[in-house]
Amino acid sequence: MPDNSDAGGLVSLTDLKQLAELFDAAENALVPDSPEAKAAQIAFDRAVQQIYDCKVAMNTQFASVAQPIFKAKLRSLCRQFLRKN
């Protein structure tokens, strides 16, 4: 069977899975300002920025997508991913 675990767009499914885990730990923390939630939020923000800088901004096809829009869309995708998994 072909391994399509990394199928997807410039942002891969593997990227999305990792981001969704961090998003879940930050956004869905039962105590919003717990150290774990804060750490997850920092890690999520950093990971999004890294993907944007290394993949999106470097690609002429996608460079017009502003970072805040990119991040908001990723948050929505993380929500969808978490609902389905």
């Binding site: 410039l10 956004e27 908001a72 990723l74």
Partner: protein
């Protein structure tokens, strides 16, 4: 199965916030024996109510697909925090040793969390109207 609207939960829990003002009105002098204990009890109850409602909000929004509904939940939750903050703000000067400053700080943390979530959802709602170039994101269908 019994279903309950989030707005009903908020409405019910607002009564506990109102009770904080009532308890303070019945115990106007914190130096009178029992007054601070009575107020401290209600302070703990308000904190539990806000924390418990926050947990319900998290669980509800995790399962909800419509971003507008998620926004409504966080807006309602922020409103509950505002109401509780309004009540405790007027009391913390008079009852500084009855847990009111600590409750005020906790409520600010919760309010901040709710507001941030509400604002982020608004960004996501706006983002739905902006076309994304194909090939940027993976498909989840």
């Amino acid at each position: 199965m019994l279903c309950i609207e989030f707005g009903d939960i908020i409405e019910s829990n607002e009564q506990q916030v109102d009770a904080l003002t009532d308890v303070a009105a019945k115990n106007p002098d914190p130096d009178v024996p029992g007054a601070c204990e009575a107020l401290s009890r209600q302070v703990r109850l308000v904190e539990s109510v806000v924390a418990g409602t926050y947990v319900i909000a998290v669980q509800a929004t995790r399962k909800t697909e419509a971003l507008e509904e998620i926004a409504q939940v966080w807006q309602a939750m922020a409103k509950l925090c505002d109401k509780a903050l309004g009540a405790v703000s007027s009391l913390k000067g008079r009852y500084p040793y009855c847990g009111t400053p600590e409750l005020h700080d906790r409520l600010l943390d919760y309010k901040l969390a709710c507001t941030r979530r509400y604002e982020q959802i608004q960004e996501e709602i706006l983002c739905q109207t902006i076309p994304m170039p194909e090939g940027l994101f993976p498909s989840l269908t």
